[in-house]
């Protein structure tokens, strides 16, 4: 096997192929991540501090959670544009229910329930209405945001109990609580996608929906479940944002969908479905998080940051192109 490998990489042409293959795998992305960390730690003395690194994980925990939900959707060959709006709606709903009942847990559960409900609506309309999910969730992007705005009259819902802030801003020892939440979500999603039959089904549906149906998979059920997962995860993201700000902001998480989709695609998923892993999504989110943080430390203007991020995403996807 080893001998085989060295023989293959001897000519420059096959060396290129090996490099390409490596770039396509998650290890390639890991190398990019490590390279970025090295570059930023040379450029900024603060970057490599354990405080800053933990800070990065706190910053990207919300993106990661929502991106994991998105991974289910993209793996099944669909897209969910409504994640940012769901996050805002759930943040608002959580805050309102906490204020009304005085019980934090009830507020969180109600919020997550709304996230689940909106996700289910996305899925049911996409599947049974036979409409492309791009369009359904584009409409939901407007509707969910609009409901959040109408419900609150456009004003943030504040005066929340201090205890609620623990989730988004608190620490357990040196580790941010939101990082722990994201880690829990990651492990759970990893188990579901890699260690249960459900992952096989999501992937099959994304790879060939027709064949999946004729392989006796309940395609409709799983497609709806993917949107439901995305709804709940967006909701959890919304809860964390509200907790960190200690207020439910109807204008929170605007444009989040683009960052989240970028992270999933950067992680190796294909928009045509059937390809995508949560490990990839984790790395994709981390790459974007490190770029954001590193450039912030270096004092790069946020306008310029957007250009850099866009270019990096293009380069990464070009490098992984399958032909």
């Amino acid at each position: 096997m080893n001998k085989d490998l060295t023989a293959k990489t001897s000519s420059p042409n096959s060396l290129m192929k090996s490099i390409k293959k490596l770039l396509k795998s998650e290890i390639g992305l890991l190398i990019v991540l490590v390279a970025l960390i090295v570059v930023f730690s040379i450029l900024s003395p603060y970057f490599l501090g354990s405080r800053n690194l933990l800070n990065i994980t706190r910053q990207f925990s919300v993106t990661l959670i929502v991106a994991i939900g998105m991974t289910f959707v993209i793996l099944s060959g669909e897209i969910d544009l409504s994640v940012g709006s769901i996050a805002a709606l759930v943040g608002v709903a959580t805050a309102i229910v906490i204020n009304a009942t005085g019980i934090i847990l009830v507020g969180i559960l109600a919020g997550l329930g709304i996230g689940l409900l909106v996700g289910l609506i996305n899925g049911i309309i996409t599947v049974f209405g036979k409409i492309q999910s791009f369009i359904v969730t584009l409409a939901m992007l407007g509707i969910a945001r609009g409901v959040a705005l109408v419900w609150t009259g456009g004003r943030p819902v504040s005066r929340l109990p201090e205890g609620f802030g623990t989730l988004g801003a608190g620490y357990l020892g040196p580790i941010p609580v939101s990082t722990l939440v994201a880690a829990g979500v990651f492990v759970l999603a990893y188990m579901v996608l890699n260690k249960t039959k459900h992952g096989t089904y999501f992937q099959s549906i994304g790879a060939n929906r027709e064949a999946a149906k004729l392989s006796a998979i309940s395609v409709s059920k799983y497609r709806i479940m993917a949107f439901a997962a995305s709804g709940v995860m967006s909701g959890l993201g919304g809860v964390l944002i509200a907790s960190r700000l200690l207020s439910g902001q109807p204008t929170a998480a605007q444009g989040m969908e683009l960052n989240v989709i970028a992270a999933v695609i950067l992680g190796g998923a294909s928009l045509s479905g059937g390809v995508g892993t949560v490990v990839g999504t984790l790395l994709g989110t981390a790459v974007i998080g490190v770029i954001d943080n590193g450039m912030n430390l270096m004092g790069v203007s946020s306008f310029f940051q957007q250009i850099v991020k866009g270019v990096i995403i293009l380069l990464a996807v070009l490098a992984r192109r399958s032909d």
Binding site: M191, T196, T200, Q203, A207, E210, L214, S215, A216
Partner: protein, 499 residues
């Protein structure tokens, strides 16, 4: 019929060692409708593709209007007045009739590329009026029925000067009223000296509309007849040949009398008529008919893919409800669809995934997958199916056609189905793989699996099946016991002839 507009002389074409066309001579008289018939793989489409420049002949000569010519490519064929009207329509649904007719050939003013729409609609109207057919050129093609679409397609070919039309199964999907109108129009074309090659499995259409008929078998022209002077029996015999009737394969077990599947008045979406039949233990039942007879529709219905409209399915004496492939599977049905690439396989995913996806519950430990037993299940199945190479991590798209087909069947055999429905399981695969699949099917039947073989390969049905049902346009034409099944009888029945 004056002179010949086209003569094809001693045409040879070889595809990787298979002689697709073997010294074929073929001639067309001006203004005739000339039927080209033959079983699947007889060489009809190769001949047509040479004529339309898709393939190049290895040797031979094509004489067009008295001049020896070479047809280099499809564009060249069009320039020489040859147009093919294929089964799959080449019209664009969202454009108007007139826009379709002039697509790629739009009348434009001299300096700016404005399309002169008024002129276009007027010309399209003239063109259509020539066929005595009322189609508003402003109408969107999506609003037209199948028959009218076909006519628009022909009109499109004629506007760019086609003199010779190749009609490939033109009536597929048309209602009988549409067919009648369509025939009126092609008669009109004939009177205007347009020459047509008419490829069809429907011999009654050949008798109704064609002037002459040529039969291809195994790449040879078995003879050209005046339609008026030939009968169905003669045509069938030259289609299948004399010495080629299949030798029934030996079975180690005989079908028992125990009925395991009983289908009563069953009709699902896209089926024309309700169908009833019984399948016994250890039996291989063939359901056959020409393409479009409704075999796949029956298979998809029984497997719960298309919606059931009426009837009952009884399995092992109990009525079962099948409303999705998933519920069919839970009732131990398995279905191998007609198109392995688009319906059967996850081409981009590993063979292991393809072999275990439907029976993944077998490799669960609690709620979790066991990677080891999954690999073992895939490997055991692949060995049983003789899939080559035995690389479970290879993407299914890298397998050969035969091995892909074995993978689709293996998807079910990693479990233990009670009823196996196979739709055209040997289409497009090599002889060796065919043999292996037949052996496998018989092995399963010997073990008690009820096998339903949907096939339009009559020879295959006559060699493998214990009993055969012949469908015509979605209804049962005949049921034959093993001793009565022969390729010739099946073909005659399927083509609408008497027994």
């Amino acid at each position: 019929m004056d002179g010949n507009v086209l003569e094809m002389k001693k045409i040879n074409k070889n595809f990787g060692g298979i002689q697709a066309l073997d010294n074929v001579n073929f001639a067309l008289g001006e203004g005739e409708i000339h039927a080209l018939i033959g079983e699947n793989g007889a060489g009809k489409s190769t001949l047509v593709k040479i004529l339309t420049g898709v393939h190049q002949m290895d040797s031979g000569e094509i004489v067009l209007d008295g001049e020896s010519t070479i047809i280099q490519n499809p564009i060249d064929a069009r320039r020489k007045g040859i147009a093919a009207i294929y089964q799959e329509m080449s019209l664009i649904d969202s454009l108007s009739v007139a826009e379709n007719i002039f697509l790629g050939n739009e009348p434009t003013s001299k300096f700016v590329s404005w399309v002169d729409r008024k002129w276009m609609f007027r010309e399209a109207k003239k063109e259509l009026a020539a066929f005595n057919i009322e189609i508003d050129p402003r109408m969107k093609v999506s609003e037209l029925g199948l028959g009218k679409k076909k006519i628009v397609e022909i009109a499109k070919a004629l506007t760019i000067g086609a003199k010779l039309l190749l009609l490939d199964e033109p009536t597929t999907g048309m209602s009988s009223a549409e067919i009648d109108t369509f025939f009126e129009i092609i008669k009109e074309l004939r009177s205007k000296r347009i020459t047509m090659i008419y490829i069809s499995h429907h011999l009654e259409e050949v008798f109704k509309i064609c002037d002459r008929v040529s039969v291809l078998r195994d790449g040879r022209n078995e003879g050209t007849h005046q339609v008026a002077n030939v009968d169905l029996k003669t045509l069938v015999q030259s289609m299948i040949g004399k010495d080629l009737d299949g030798i029934a394969r030996q079975r180690t077990t005989v079908p028992t009398d125990e009925v395991i599947l009983s289908v009563k008045g069953f009709k699902a979406e896209n089926m024309n008529e309700p169908i009833s039949f019984e399948l016994r233990k250890n039996e291989i039942l063939g359901i056959t008919g020409i393409i479009g007879a409704g075999k796949s529709e029956l298979g998809l219905g029984l497997f719960g893919y298309s919606k059931k409209l009426s009837g009952e399915i009884h399995f092992m004496g109990q009525e079962i409800s099948v409303d999705s492939p998933n519920s069919a599977f839970r009732n131990s049905f398995a279905f191998v669809p007609e198109d392995r690439k688009s319906q059967g396989l996850f081409l981009s995913l590993p063979v292991e995934h393809n072999l275990t996806v439907s029976n993944i519950k077998k490799v669960l430990v609690g709620p979790f997958l066991s990677a080891r037993s999954r690999r073992k299940l895939a490997l055991d199945t692949a060995k049983r199916m003789k899939i080559v190479p035995l690389n479970m991590q290879m993407a299914a798209q890298n397998l050969s056609g035969g091995n892909q087909q074995k993978t689709v069947i293996g998807k079910w055999l990693s479990g233990s189905p009670g009823i196996l429905i196979l739709d055209e399981p040997t289409r497009g695969i090599d002889v060796g793989a065919k043999e292996e699949i037949f052996n496998l099917i018989q092995g399963l039947a010997d073990k008690g699996v009820g096998v339903l073989l949907l096939s339009s390969e009559f020879k295959e049905v006559s060699t493998v099946c214990d009993r055969a049902i012949v469908l015509i346009k979605g209804s049962v034409r005949a049921e034959l016991r093993r001793e009565d099944v022969s390729t010739e009888r099946l073909l005659t029945l399927a083509l609408g002839g008497e027994t």
